[in-house]
Protein backbone atom coordinates (compact mmCIF):
# COMPACT_ATOMS: atom_id res chain seq x y z
CA UNK A 1 0.00 0.00 0.00
CA UNK A 2 2.68 2.43 1.00
CA UNK A 3 4.39 1.99 -2.34
CA UNK A 4 1.57 3.76 -4.07
CA UNK A 5 1.36 6.59 -1.58
CA UNK A 6 1.50 9.93 -3.28
CA UNK A 7 3.11 12.88 -1.65
CA UNK A 8 0.49 15.38 -0.54
CA UNK A 9 -1.11 16.51 -3.75
CA UNK A 10 0.47 19.27 -5.65
CA UNK A 11 3.71 17.76 -6.81
CA UNK A 12 3.15 20.13 -9.62
CA UNK A 13 1.70 18.42 -12.56
CA UNK A 14 2.09 21.14 -15.14
CA UNK A 15 -1.18 23.05 -14.98
CA UNK A 16 -2.20 25.47 -17.64
CA UNK A 17 -5.66 26.47 -16.46
CA UNK A 18 -5.64 30.04 -15.18
CA UNK A 19 -5.46 31.29 -12.52
CA UNK A 20 -2.60 29.18 -11.12
CA UNK A 21 -2.42 27.77 -7.59
CA UNK A 22 0.97 29.38 -7.10
CA UNK A 23 2.23 32.39 -9.03
CA UNK A 24 5.15 31.63 -11.38
CA UNK A 25 8.70 32.54 -10.46
CA UNK A 26 8.86 30.94 -7.03
CA UNK A 27 11.65 28.61 -5.92
CA UNK A 28 12.19 26.36 -2.89
CA UNK A 29 14.13 29.16 -1.25
CA UNK A 30 11.68 31.97 -2.02
CA UNK A 31 8.70 29.98 -0.75
CA UNK A 32 10.56 29.06 2.44
CA UNK A 33 11.83 32.55 3.09
CA UNK A 34 8.58 34.31 2.38
CA UNK A 35 6.45 32.19 4.71
CA UNK A 36 9.00 31.81 7.51
CA UNK A 37 9.73 35.55 7.46
CA UNK A 38 6.19 36.25 8.73
CA UNK A 39 7.09 34.33 11.89
CA UNK A 40 10.80 35.09 12.22
CA UNK A 41 10.87 38.55 10.65
CA UNK A 42 10.17 40.28 13.94
CA UNK A 43 7.86 43.21 13.33
CA UNK A 44 4.24 42.49 12.67
CA UNK A 45 2.04 44.80 10.59
CA UNK A 46 -0.27 47.29 12.28
CA UNK A 47 -3.16 45.01 11.34
CA UNK A 48 -1.79 42.37 13.68
CA UNK A 49 -1.17 44.72 16.59
CA UNK A 50 -4.60 46.36 16.39
CA UNK A 51 -6.37 43.09 15.65
CA UNK A 52 -4.77 41.33 18.57
CA UNK A 53 -5.53 44.28 20.84
CA UNK A 54 -9.24 44.22 19.99
CA UNK A 55 -9.38 40.43 20.25
CA UNK A 56 -7.67 40.55 23.62
CA UNK A 57 -10.20 43.10 24.92
CA UNK A 58 -12.94 40.68 23.92
CA UNK A 59 -11.11 37.89 25.76
CA UNK A 60 -11.33 40.08 28.85
CA UNK A 61 -15.08 40.44 28.25
CA UNK A 62 -15.24 36.65 28.08
CA UNK A 63 -13.31 36.24 31.34
CA UNK A 64 -15.63 38.69 33.07
CA UNK A 65 -18.73 36.92 31.82
CA UNK A 66 -17.39 33.51 32.82
CA UNK A 67 -16.27 34.67 36.26
CA UNK A 68 -19.72 36.08 36.96
CA UNK A 69 -21.29 32.89 35.61
CA UNK A 70 -19.22 30.69 37.90
CA UNK A 71 -20.02 32.92 40.86
CA UNK A 72 -23.78 33.11 40.26
CA UNK A 73 -24.68 30.05 38.18
CA UNK A 74 -26.52 29.63 34.88
CA UNK A 75 -29.46 31.66 36.21
CA UNK A 76 -27.76 34.76 34.80
CA UNK A 77 -28.50 33.43 31.32
CA UNK A 78 -31.85 33.70 29.58
CA UNK A 79 -32.51 29.95 29.71
CA UNK A 80 -35.56 28.87 31.67
CA UNK A 81 -38.67 26.76 31.12
CA UNK A 82 -39.65 26.04 28.40
CA UNK A 83 -36.48 27.07 26.55
CA UNK A 84 -33.78 25.18 28.46
CA UNK A 85 -31.29 25.25 25.61
CA UNK A 86 -30.42 28.76 24.58
CA UNK A 87 -27.23 30.47 23.53
CA UNK A 88 -25.05 27.70 24.93
CA UNK A 89 -26.31 25.10 22.45
CA UNK A 90 -26.72 27.60 19.60
CA UNK A 91 -23.13 28.73 20.01
CA UNK A 92 -21.84 25.21 20.58
CA UNK A 93 -23.34 24.04 17.29
CA UNK A 94 -22.25 27.22 15.50
CA UNK A 95 -18.64 26.89 16.57
CA UNK A 96 -18.39 23.18 16.00
CA UNK A 97 -19.83 23.72 12.53
CA UNK A 98 -17.15 26.29 11.75
CA UNK A 99 -14.63 23.78 13.00
CA UNK A 100 -15.55 21.36 10.24
CA UNK A 101 -13.91 23.08 7.29
CA UNK A 102 -10.34 22.68 8.52
CA UNK A 103 -10.36 18.92 8.68
CA UNK A 104 -12.47 18.74 5.56
CA UNK A 105 -9.88 20.74 3.63
CA UNK A 106 -6.99 18.76 5.11
CA UNK A 107 -8.46 15.30 4.86
CA UNK A 108 -11.10 15.05 2.18
CA UNK A 109 -9.42 17.37 -0.31
CA UNK A 110 -6.14 15.50 0.31
CA UNK A 111 -7.76 12.19 -0.52
CA UNK A 112 -9.39 13.74 -3.59
CA UNK A 113 -5.94 15.01 -4.69
CA UNK A 114 -7.06 18.64 -4.82
CA UNK A 115 -3.65 20.28 -4.78
CA UNK A 116 -5.08 23.76 -4.29
CA UNK A 117 -5.77 22.81 -0.68
CA UNK A 118 -2.05 23.10 0.13
CA UNK A 119 -1.92 26.82 0.77
CA UNK A 120 -5.08 27.01 2.87
CA UNK A 121 -5.01 23.80 4.90
CA UNK A 122 -2.68 24.97 7.69
CA UNK A 123 -4.65 27.97 8.89
CA UNK A 124 -7.93 26.21 8.22
CA UNK A 125 -6.75 23.45 10.59
CA UNK A 126 -5.76 26.05 13.18
CA UNK A 127 -9.18 27.63 12.74
CA UNK A 128 -10.73 24.21 13.38
CA UNK A 129 -8.81 23.71 16.60
CA UNK A 130 -9.70 27.13 17.98
CA UNK A 131 -13.34 26.85 16.92
CA UNK A 132 -13.60 23.44 18.59
CA UNK A 133 -12.01 24.89 21.73
CA UNK A 134 -14.66 27.65 21.78
CA UNK A 135 -17.39 25.07 21.13
CA UNK A 136 -16.23 22.87 24.00
CA UNK A 137 -16.51 25.76 26.43
CA UNK A 138 -20.30 25.99 26.02
CA UNK A 139 -21.41 22.56 27.22
CA UNK A 140 -18.85 22.88 30.01
CA UNK A 141 -20.30 26.20 31.16
CA UNK A 142 -23.83 24.90 30.78
CA UNK A 143 -23.10 22.02 33.15
CA UNK A 144 -23.76 24.38 36.02
CA UNK A 145 -21.01 22.72 38.04
CA UNK A 146 -18.27 22.66 35.40
CA UNK A 147 -15.68 21.37 37.84
CA UNK A 148 -17.50 18.02 37.79
CA UNK A 149 -17.17 17.67 34.01
CA UNK A 150 -15.19 14.44 34.43
CA UNK A 151 -18.39 12.70 35.51
CA UNK A 152 -19.11 12.46 31.79
CA UNK A 153 -16.11 10.23 31.27
CA UNK A 154 -16.28 6.57 32.24
CA UNK A 155 -13.83 6.02 35.06
CA UNK A 156 -13.87 3.75 38.11
CA UNK A 157 -15.63 5.84 40.74
CA UNK A 158 -16.84 5.42 44.30
CA UNK A 159 -20.43 6.12 43.20
CA UNK A 160 -20.34 2.93 41.09
CA UNK A 161 -22.03 4.85 38.28
CA UNK A 162 -21.53 4.75 34.54
CA UNK A 163 -22.42 7.34 31.90
CA UNK A 164 -25.70 6.76 30.04
CA UNK A 165 -24.38 5.10 26.87
CA UNK A 166 -27.68 5.39 25.06
CA UNK A 167 -27.72 9.19 25.29
CA UNK A 168 -26.53 11.29 22.34
CA UNK A 169 -25.17 13.79 24.85
CA UNK A 170 -22.61 11.19 25.94
CA UNK A 171 -21.91 10.34 22.29
CA UNK A 172 -21.20 14.04 21.90
CA UNK A 173 -18.55 13.92 24.62
CA UNK A 174 -16.74 11.14 22.76
CA UNK A 175 -17.28 12.59 19.29
CA UNK A 176 -16.13 16.12 20.10
CA UNK A 177 -13.18 15.11 22.25
CA UNK A 178 -12.02 12.61 19.60
CA UNK A 179 -12.44 15.29 16.97
CA UNK A 180 -10.41 17.78 18.99
CA UNK A 181 -7.64 15.21 19.57
CA UNK A 182 -7.44 14.00 15.98
CA UNK A 183 -7.56 17.56 14.61
CA UNK A 184 -4.70 18.48 16.90
CA UNK A 185 -2.66 15.45 15.80
CA UNK A 186 -3.32 16.24 12.15
CA UNK A 187 -2.28 19.83 12.63
CA UNK A 188 0.84 18.99 14.61
CA UNK A 189 2.01 16.25 12.25
CA UNK A 190 1.59 18.71 9.37
CA UNK A 191 3.60 21.29 11.27
CA UNK A 192 6.54 19.03 12.16
CA UNK A 193 8.73 19.58 9.05
CA UNK A 194 7.94 23.31 9.10
CA UNK A 195 8.98 23.56 12.74
CA UNK A 196 12.31 22.06 11.65
CA UNK A 197 12.57 24.76 8.98
CA UNK A 198 11.90 27.45 11.58
CA UNK A 199 14.49 25.88 13.89
CA UNK A 200 17.10 25.97 11.12
CA UNK A 201 16.18 29.48 9.99
CA UNK A 202 15.84 31.12 13.42
CA UNK A 203 18.66 33.43 14.36
CA UNK A 204 17.73 34.18 17.97
CA UNK A 205 18.47 31.71 20.73
CA UNK A 206 14.97 31.51 22.31
CA UNK A 207 13.38 30.84 18.92
CA UNK A 208 15.99 28.18 18.13
CA UNK A 209 15.34 26.42 21.43
CA UNK A 210 11.54 26.67 21.19
CA UNK A 211 11.23 25.49 17.60
CA UNK A 212 14.05 22.98 18.18
CA UNK A 213 12.10 21.30 20.95
CA UNK A 214 8.85 21.35 18.99
CA UNK A 215 10.52 19.95 15.85
CA UNK A 216 11.66 16.91 17.89
CA UNK A 217 14.87 16.53 15.89
CA UNK A 218 13.18 16.21 12.49
CA UNK A 219 15.90 15.99 9.84
CA UNK A 220 14.04 15.25 6.62
CA UNK A 221 15.42 11.74 6.20
CA UNK A 222 13.99 9.86 3.21
CA UNK A 223 12.94 6.98 5.45
CA UNK A 224 11.26 9.38 7.85
CA UNK A 225 9.42 11.11 5.03
CA UNK A 226 8.16 7.75 3.82
CA UNK A 227 6.65 6.91 7.22
CA UNK A 228 5.51 10.50 7.67
CA UNK A 229 3.48 10.47 4.49
CA UNK A 230 1.99 7.11 5.37
CA UNK A 231 0.94 8.47 8.76
CA UNK A 232 -0.48 11.63 7.19
CA UNK A 233 -2.50 9.68 4.68
CA UNK A 234 -3.78 7.32 7.37
CA UNK A 235 -4.85 10.31 9.45
CA UNK A 236 -6.64 11.78 6.44
CA UNK A 237 -8.47 8.53 5.87
CA UNK A 238 -9.46 8.35 9.54
CA UNK A 239 -10.43 12.00 9.83
CA UNK A 240 -12.77 11.92 6.83
CA UNK A 241 -15.48 9.71 8.38
CA UNK A 242 -14.77 11.39 11.71
CA UNK A 243 -15.75 14.84 10.37
CA UNK A 244 -19.02 13.42 9.10
CA UNK A 245 -19.67 11.58 12.36
CA UNK A 246 -19.12 14.58 14.63
CA UNK A 247 -21.85 16.78 13.25
CA UNK A 248 -24.07 13.76 12.78
CA UNK A 249 -23.81 13.08 16.51
CA UNK A 250 -24.44 16.77 17.22
CA UNK A 251 -27.59 16.60 15.10
CA UNK A 252 -28.68 13.47 16.98
CA UNK A 253 -28.78 15.56 20.16
CA UNK A 254 -31.82 17.09 18.53
CA UNK A 255 -33.14 14.34 16.29
CA UNK A 256 -33.48 11.66 18.99
CA UNK A 257 -35.84 13.86 21.01
CA UNK A 258 -39.53 14.10 20.18
CA UNK A 259 -39.72 17.90 20.07
CA UNK A 260 -41.53 19.10 16.92
CA UNK A 261 -38.99 20.45 14.44
CA UNK A 262 -36.16 18.35 15.86
CA UNK A 263 -37.45 14.83 15.39
CA UNK A 264 -36.50 14.54 11.72
CA UNK A 265 -34.40 12.07 9.73
CA UNK A 266 -33.05 14.89 7.55
CA UNK A 267 -31.04 16.26 10.46
CA UNK A 268 -27.68 14.45 10.12
CA UNK A 269 -26.97 15.25 6.43
CA UNK A 270 -28.54 18.69 6.80
CA UNK A 271 -26.29 19.49 9.77
CA UNK A 272 -23.14 18.15 8.09
CA UNK A 273 -23.77 20.25 4.98
CA UNK A 274 -24.47 23.28 7.18
CA UNK A 275 -21.21 22.71 9.02
CA UNK A 276 -19.17 22.61 5.81
CA UNK A 277 -21.04 25.68 4.60
CA UNK A 278 -20.31 27.66 7.76
CA UNK A 279 -16.73 26.40 7.86
CA UNK A 280 -15.87 27.47 4.34
CA UNK A 281 -17.47 30.85 4.97
CA UNK A 282 -15.15 31.29 7.97
CA UNK A 283 -12.10 30.17 5.96
CA UNK A 284 -12.92 32.86 3.40
CA UNK A 285 -13.44 35.46 6.14
CA UNK A 286 -9.94 34.69 7.45
CA UNK A 287 -8.16 34.10 4.13
CA UNK A 288 -9.22 37.29 2.36
CA UNK A 289 -7.73 39.78 4.87
CA UNK A 290 -4.69 37.58 5.58
CA UNK A 291 -3.60 37.35 1.96
CA UNK A 292 -3.99 41.09 1.54
CA UNK A 293 -2.16 42.09 4.73
CA UNK A 294 0.72 39.63 4.45
CA UNK A 295 1.04 39.87 0.66
CA UNK A 296 0.26 36.21 0.14
CA UNK A 297 -1.60 36.66 -3.14
CA UNK A 298 1.10 34.51 -4.79
CA UNK A 299 0.16 31.54 -2.64
CA UNK A 300 -3.53 32.07 -1.94
CA UNK A 301 -4.52 32.95 -5.47
CA UNK A 302 -7.88 33.80 -7.02
CA UNK A 303 -8.11 30.11 -7.87
CA UNK A 304 -8.40 29.27 -4.17
CA UNK A 305 -11.02 31.91 -3.52
CA UNK A 306 -13.05 30.83 -6.55
CA UNK A 307 -12.92 27.17 -5.61
CA UNK A 308 -14.03 27.95 -2.08
CA UNK A 309 -16.82 30.13 -3.44
CA UNK A 310 -18.04 27.19 -5.51
CA UNK A 311 -18.01 24.91 -2.47
CA UNK A 312 -19.90 27.60 -0.57
CA UNK A 313 -22.54 27.73 -3.30
CA UNK A 314 -22.86 23.94 -3.50
CA UNK A 315 -23.19 23.39 0.25
CA UNK A 316 -25.50 26.41 0.45
CA UNK A 317 -27.82 24.71 -2.01
CA UNK A 318 -27.78 21.51 0.07
CA UNK A 319 -28.65 23.51 3.17
CA UNK A 320 -31.42 25.25 1.22
CA UNK A 321 -32.75 21.84 0.23
CA UNK A 322 -32.77 21.01 3.95
CA UNK A 323 -34.97 24.04 4.67
CA UNK A 324 -37.42 23.07 1.94
CA UNK A 325 -37.58 19.44 3.07
CA UNK A 326 -38.09 20.50 6.69
CA UNK A 327 -41.21 22.41 5.66
CA UNK A 328 -42.31 19.57 3.39
CA UNK A 329 -41.94 17.00 6.19
CA UNK A 330 -44.01 19.15 8.50
CA UNK A 331 -46.84 19.30 5.99
CA UNK A 332 -46.61 15.76 4.62
CA UNK A 333 -46.38 14.10 8.04
CA UNK A 334 -49.90 15.29 8.81
CA UNK A 335 -48.76 15.75 12.39
CA UNK A 336 -50.51 18.83 13.83
CA UNK A 337 -47.59 19.70 16.13
CA UNK A 338 -45.07 19.54 13.28
CA UNK A 339 -47.43 21.56 11.12
CA UNK A 340 -47.87 24.17 13.79
CA UNK A 341 -44.12 24.32 14.37
CA UNK A 342 -43.35 25.34 10.79
CA UNK A 343 -46.22 27.86 10.63
CA UNK A 344 -45.06 29.28 13.95
CA UNK A 345 -41.57 29.68 12.49
CA UNK A 346 -42.93 31.48 9.46
CA UNK A 347 -45.56 33.61 11.12
CA UNK A 348 -44.96 33.42 14.89
CA UNK A 349 -43.04 35.78 17.16
CA UNK A 350 -39.68 34.62 15.78
CA UNK A 351 -40.73 35.01 12.13
CA UNK A 352 -38.19 37.80 11.45
CA UNK A 353 -35.43 35.37 12.47
CA UNK A 354 -36.76 32.70 10.11
CA UNK A 355 -37.01 35.00 7.12
CA UNK A 356 -33.61 36.57 7.71
CA UNK A 357 -32.20 33.06 7.93
CA UNK A 358 -33.57 32.28 4.46
CA UNK A 359 -32.29 35.61 3.20
CA UNK A 360 -28.77 35.04 4.54
CA UNK A 361 -28.32 31.35 3.80
CA UNK A 362 -30.47 30.76 0.76
CA UNK A 363 -30.77 34.04 -1.14
CA UNK A 364 -27.41 35.77 -0.56
CA UNK A 365 -25.14 32.95 -1.81
CA UNK A 366 -27.07 32.76 -5.10
CA UNK A 367 -24.90 35.73 -6.12
CA UNK A 368 -22.05 33.22 -6.34
CA UNK A 369 -23.46 31.90 -9.59
CA UNK A 370 -21.87 34.95 -11.21
CA UNK A 371 -18.20 34.69 -12.06
CA UNK A 372 -17.78 38.43 -11.43
CA UNK A 373 -18.85 37.90 -7.81
CA UNK A 374 -16.64 34.83 -7.36
CA UNK A 375 -13.66 36.83 -8.64
CA UNK A 376 -14.13 39.72 -6.24
CA UNK A 377 -12.53 39.25 -2.80
CA UNK A 378 -14.57 42.05 -1.16
CA UNK A 379 -17.84 40.53 -2.40
CA UNK A 380 -16.77 37.08 -1.23
CA UNK A 381 -15.86 38.50 2.15
CA UNK A 382 -19.25 40.15 2.57
CA UNK A 383 -21.17 37.07 1.41
CA UNK A 384 -19.15 34.89 3.80
CA UNK A 385 -19.98 37.22 6.68
CA UNK A 386 -23.66 37.08 5.76
CA UNK A 387 -23.50 33.28 5.63
CA UNK A 388 -21.79 33.11 9.03
CA UNK A 389 -24.49 35.26 10.56
CA UNK A 390 -27.14 33.24 8.74
CA UNK A 391 -25.80 30.00 10.14
CA UNK A 392 -25.95 31.40 13.65
CA UNK A 393 -29.57 32.47 13.08
CA UNK A 394 -30.31 28.99 11.71
CA UNK A 395 -29.28 27.39 14.98
CA UNK A 396 -31.21 30.04 16.89
CA UNK A 397 -34.35 29.23 14.91
CA UNK A 398 -33.91 25.47 15.33
CA UNK A 399 -33.25 25.64 19.07
CA UNK A 400 -35.59 28.40 20.18
CA UNK A 401 -38.67 28.15 17.94
CA UNK A 402 -39.00 24.42 18.55
CA UNK A 403 -38.70 24.69 22.31
CA UNK A 404 -40.73 27.81 22.99
CA UNK A 405 -44.02 26.32 21.75
CA UNK A 406 -44.26 22.55 21.90
CA UNK A 407 -47.22 20.33 22.76
CA UNK A 408 -48.93 22.14 25.64
CA UNK A 409 -49.98 25.75 25.04
CA UNK A 410 -50.03 26.21 28.84
CA UNK A 411 -46.26 25.75 28.89
CA UNK A 412 -45.45 28.12 26.04
CA UNK A 413 -42.99 30.92 26.66
CA UNK A 414 -40.56 33.32 25.07
CA UNK A 415 -36.78 33.35 25.08
CA UNK A 416 -34.13 35.97 24.57
CA UNK A 417 -30.45 36.10 25.50
CA UNK A 418 -29.38 38.30 28.40
CA UNK A 419 -26.41 40.63 28.44
CA UNK A 420 -24.38 37.71 29.85
CA UNK A 421 -25.37 35.44 26.99
CA UNK A 422 -24.24 38.04 24.50
CA UNK A 423 -21.03 38.93 26.30
CA UNK A 424 -20.07 35.25 26.52
CA UNK A 425 -20.74 34.84 22.81
CA UNK A 426 -18.80 37.96 21.84
CA UNK A 427 -16.10 36.83 24.25
CA UNK A 428 -15.61 33.48 22.52
CA UNK A 429 -15.33 35.30 19.18
CA UNK A 430 -12.55 37.31 20.83
CA UNK A 431 -10.92 34.16 22.16
CA UNK A 432 -11.04 32.60 18.70
CA UNK A 433 -9.55 35.68 17.04
CA UNK A 434 -6.87 36.10 19.72
CA UNK A 435 -5.77 32.49 19.25
CA UNK A 436 -5.73 32.99 15.48
CA UNK A 437 -3.55 36.09 15.85
CA UNK A 438 -1.13 34.23 18.12
CA UNK A 439 -1.01 31.36 15.64
CA UNK A 440 -0.16 33.73 12.77
CA UNK A 441 2.58 35.27 14.86
CA UNK A 442 4.28 32.09 16.08
CA UNK A 443 3.65 29.38 13.50
CA UNK A 444 3.80 29.31 9.69
CA UNK A 445 0.26 29.91 8.48
CA UNK A 446 0.92 28.14 5.17
CA UNK A 447 2.50 24.72 4.98
CA UNK A 448 6.03 25.47 3.75
CA UNK A 449 7.10 21.97 2.83
CA UNK A 450 3.95 21.30 0.85
CA UNK A 451 4.34 24.61 -0.98
CA UNK A 452 7.83 23.46 -2.02
CA UNK A 453 6.26 20.52 -3.81
CA UNK A 454 4.18 22.95 -5.91
CA UNK A 455 7.21 24.85 -7.17
CA UNK A 456 8.21 23.98 -10.78
CA UNK A 457 11.74 22.98 -9.66
CA UNK A 458 10.24 20.10 -7.72
CA UNK A 459 8.23 18.89 -10.68
CA UNK A 460 10.57 19.11 -13.63
CA UNK A 461 13.54 17.53 -11.94
CA UNK A 462 11.56 14.78 -10.30
CA UNK A 463 10.22 13.94 -13.76
CA UNK A 464 13.78 13.82 -15.08
CA UNK A 465 14.76 11.56 -12.20
CA UNK A 466 12.00 9.11 -13.09
CA UNK A 467 13.50 8.42 -16.50
CA UNK A 468 16.45 6.51 -14.95
Amino acid sequence: MSESIERPPGEGRGRVTPPPIIEPGHTFASVTDKISAIVLGGRQPLFWVLGFFVAFLLVLVFLTAVSYLFAKGVGIWGVNQPVGWGFDIINFVWWIGIGHAGTLISAILLLLRQDWRTSINRFAEAMTLFAVACALLYPLMHLGRPWLFYWLIPYPNSMALWPQWRSPLIWDVFAVSTYATVSFLFWFVGLLPDLATLRDRATKKPAQILYGMLAMGWRGSALHWHRYETAYLLLAGLATPLVISVHTVVSLDFATSIIPGWHATIFPPYFVAGAIYAGFAMVLILAIPLRAVYGLQDFITMRHLQNMAKILLATGLIVGYGYVIEAFFAWYSGNPYEGYMILNRMKGPYAPMYWSLLLCNLAAPQLLWFKRVRSSPPMLFVISLIVSIGMWIERYVIVVTSLHRDFLPSSWGMYSGTIWDWSTFVGTIGLFLALMFLFIRFLPMISIFEMRTLVPEAAVEAEAGKKK
Binding site: M1, P154, R166, T181, F188, S221, A222, Y228, L238, G465
Partner: protein, 178 residues
Protein backbone atom coordinates in the same frame (compact mmCIF):
# COMPACT_ATOMS: atom_id res chain seq x y z
CA UNK B 1 39.85 1.82 8.11
CA UNK B 2 36.94 2.86 10.21
CA UNK B 3 37.43 6.00 12.24
CA UNK B 4 35.28 5.78 15.39
CA UNK B 5 34.66 9.52 15.24
CA UNK B 6 33.37 9.46 11.68
CA UNK B 7 29.62 8.97 11.16
CA UNK B 8 29.76 9.13 7.39
CA UNK B 9 30.21 11.27 4.31
CA UNK B 10 27.58 13.76 3.25
CA UNK B 11 27.15 14.92 -0.34
CA UNK B 12 25.14 18.03 -1.13
CA UNK B 13 23.03 18.36 -4.27
CA UNK B 14 21.18 21.27 -5.86
CA UNK B 15 17.99 19.59 -6.94
CA UNK B 16 15.78 16.58 -6.35
CA UNK B 17 16.63 15.10 -9.75
CA UNK B 18 20.38 15.06 -9.08
CA UNK B 19 19.82 13.52 -5.66
CA UNK B 20 17.58 10.74 -6.94
CA UNK B 21 20.08 9.91 -9.71
CA UNK B 22 22.93 9.88 -7.18
CA UNK B 23 21.00 7.68 -4.75
CA UNK B 24 20.28 5.24 -7.53
CA UNK B 25 23.96 5.10 -8.55
CA UNK B 26 25.08 4.64 -4.96
CA UNK B 27 22.57 1.85 -4.44
CA UNK B 28 23.76 0.23 -7.67
CA UNK B 29 27.34 0.50 -6.43
CA UNK B 30 26.36 -1.63 -3.45
CA UNK B 31 26.03 0.98 -0.70
CA UNK B 32 23.21 0.11 1.70
CA UNK B 33 23.75 2.10 4.94
CA UNK B 34 22.82 5.48 3.60
CA UNK B 35 20.07 8.00 3.91
CA UNK B 36 18.93 11.04 1.97
CA UNK B 37 17.78 14.30 3.54
CA UNK B 38 15.36 16.51 1.65
CA UNK B 39 13.17 19.57 2.27
CA UNK B 40 10.06 17.74 1.09
CA UNK B 41 9.06 14.13 0.44
CA UNK B 42 10.34 12.65 -2.84
CA UNK B 43 8.79 9.34 -3.79
CA UNK B 44 11.45 8.22 -6.18
CA UNK B 45 13.92 8.24 -3.30
CA UNK B 46 12.18 5.46 -1.43
CA UNK B 47 12.75 3.15 -4.34
CA UNK B 48 16.18 4.58 -5.28
CA UNK B 49 17.51 3.93 -1.78
CA UNK B 50 15.90 0.51 -1.70
CA UNK B 51 13.89 1.30 1.44
CA UNK B 52 11.45 -1.25 2.77
CA UNK B 53 7.76 -0.49 3.00
CA UNK B 54 6.76 0.79 6.39
CA UNK B 55 4.70 -1.31 8.78
CA UNK B 56 2.85 1.77 9.95
CA UNK B 57 -0.53 0.79 8.43
CA UNK B 58 -0.42 -2.38 10.53
CA UNK B 59 0.30 -0.33 13.64
CA UNK B 60 -2.70 1.88 12.90
CA UNK B 61 -4.88 -1.17 12.22
CA UNK B 62 -3.87 -2.62 15.60
CA UNK B 63 -4.86 0.67 17.23
CA UNK B 64 -8.18 0.66 15.43
CA UNK B 65 -9.04 -2.88 16.50
CA UNK B 66 -8.00 -2.11 20.05
CA UNK B 67 -10.14 1.06 20.09
CA UNK B 68 -13.12 -0.80 18.67
CA UNK B 69 -12.79 -3.54 21.30
CA UNK B 70 -12.36 -0.98 24.10
CA UNK B 71 -15.41 1.02 23.02
CA UNK B 72 -17.74 -1.90 22.59
CA UNK B 73 -16.25 -3.76 25.57
CA UNK B 74 -16.66 -0.99 28.13
CA UNK B 75 -20.27 -0.29 27.10
CA UNK B 76 -21.21 -3.95 27.07
CA UNK B 77 -19.49 -4.67 30.39
CA UNK B 78 -21.11 -1.75 32.21
CA UNK B 79 -24.60 -2.30 30.74
CA UNK B 80 -24.75 -6.09 30.95
CA UNK B 81 -22.37 -7.19 33.72
CA UNK B 82 -21.50 -4.40 36.08
CA UNK B 83 -24.66 -2.29 36.31
CA UNK B 84 -27.58 -3.97 34.49
CA UNK B 85 -30.55 -1.62 34.43
CA UNK B 86 -33.87 -2.51 32.83
CA UNK B 87 -35.08 0.52 30.89
CA UNK B 88 -38.55 0.00 29.49
CA UNK B 89 -37.89 -3.68 28.86
CA UNK B 90 -35.22 -2.94 26.28
CA UNK B 91 -32.36 -5.42 25.91
CA UNK B 92 -29.34 -4.77 28.10
CA UNK B 93 -26.90 -5.27 25.24
CA UNK B 94 -28.60 -2.69 22.97
CA UNK B 95 -25.71 -2.63 20.56
CA UNK B 96 -27.03 -0.13 17.97
CA UNK B 97 -26.86 2.56 20.65
CA UNK B 98 -23.24 1.58 21.33
CA UNK B 99 -22.06 2.15 17.75
CA UNK B 100 -21.27 5.90 17.87
CA UNK B 101 -18.89 5.62 20.82
CA UNK B 102 -17.34 2.44 19.42
CA UNK B 103 -16.72 4.25 16.14
CA UNK B 104 -15.22 7.32 17.81
CA UNK B 105 -12.84 5.23 19.92
CA UNK B 106 -11.80 3.21 16.86
CA UNK B 107 -10.82 6.41 15.06
CA UNK B 108 -9.19 7.87 18.16
CA UNK B 109 -7.00 4.85 18.88
CA UNK B 110 -6.07 4.31 15.22
CA UNK B 111 -5.02 7.98 14.90
CA UNK B 112 -3.00 7.93 18.10
CA UNK B 113 -1.28 4.71 17.03
CA UNK B 114 -0.56 6.13 13.56
CA UNK B 115 1.02 9.32 14.90
CA UNK B 116 2.92 7.86 17.83
CA UNK B 117 3.84 4.85 15.70
CA UNK B 118 5.31 7.18 13.08
CA UNK B 119 7.25 9.11 15.71
CA UNK B 120 8.38 5.91 17.43
CA UNK B 121 9.55 4.16 14.25
CA UNK B 122 11.37 7.34 13.24
CA UNK B 123 13.02 7.50 16.65
CA UNK B 124 11.64 10.97 17.36
CA UNK B 125 12.02 13.00 19.47
CA UNK B 126 15.78 12.74 18.95
CA UNK B 127 17.67 15.53 20.70
CA UNK B 128 21.01 14.80 19.00
CA UNK B 129 21.95 13.44 15.62
CA UNK B 130 25.39 13.58 13.97
CA UNK B 131 24.14 14.95 10.63
CA UNK B 132 23.44 18.28 12.33
CA UNK B 133 27.20 18.68 12.82
CA UNK B 134 27.54 19.60 9.15
CA UNK B 135 27.02 23.37 9.11
CA UNK B 136 25.36 23.45 5.70
CA UNK B 137 22.86 20.79 6.81
CA UNK B 138 20.56 23.58 8.01
CA UNK B 139 19.69 24.04 4.34
CA UNK B 140 18.18 20.55 4.21
CA UNK B 141 15.00 22.16 5.50
CA UNK B 142 15.11 24.89 2.85
CA UNK B 143 16.37 24.16 -0.64
CA UNK B 144 19.26 21.65 -0.55
CA UNK B 145 19.30 17.89 -0.96
CA UNK B 146 21.76 15.65 0.88
CA UNK B 147 22.91 12.07 0.55
CA UNK B 148 24.79 10.60 3.49
CA UNK B 149 26.73 7.32 3.21
CA UNK B 150 27.32 6.02 6.71
CA UNK B 151 30.69 4.73 7.91
CA UNK B 152 29.16 1.48 9.14
CA UNK B 153 28.45 0.42 5.55
CA UNK B 154 30.81 -2.47 4.72
CA UNK B 155 31.80 -0.84 1.42
CA UNK B 156 32.57 2.48 3.08
CA UNK B 157 36.06 3.79 2.56
CA UNK B 158 36.83 7.37 3.44
CA UNK B 159 38.75 8.16 0.25
CA UNK B 160 37.04 5.93 -2.27
CA UNK B 161 33.56 6.88 -1.12
CA UNK B 162 34.48 10.55 -1.16
CA UNK B 163 35.72 10.26 -4.76
CA UNK B 164 32.64 8.29 -5.72
CA UNK B 165 30.28 10.89 -4.23
CA UNK B 166 32.13 13.74 -5.94
CA UNK B 167 31.84 11.91 -9.24
CA UNK B 168 28.03 11.96 -8.85
CA UNK B 169 27.98 15.71 -9.33
CA UNK B 170 27.79 16.70 -5.67
CA UNK B 171 28.36 20.37 -4.95
CA UNK B 172 30.30 19.53 -1.87
CA UNK B 173 31.21 16.40 0.10
CA UNK B 174 31.75 16.84 3.83
CA UNK B 175 32.66 14.52 6.67
CA UNK B 176 30.03 13.98 9.33
CA UNK B 177 31.49 13.67 12.81
CA UNK B 178 29.93 11.34 15.32
Amino acid sequence: MRDPRLYGLMAEFDGPGALVAAARRAHGEGYRKMDAYTPFPIHELTEALGLRRTRLPLVALTGGILGCATGLGIQWFSSVVHYPLNVGGKPLASWPAFIPITFELTVLFASLFAVFGMLGLNGLPMPYHPVFNVPRFALASRDRFFLCVEAKDPRFDREKTRRFLSSLGAREVSEVEE
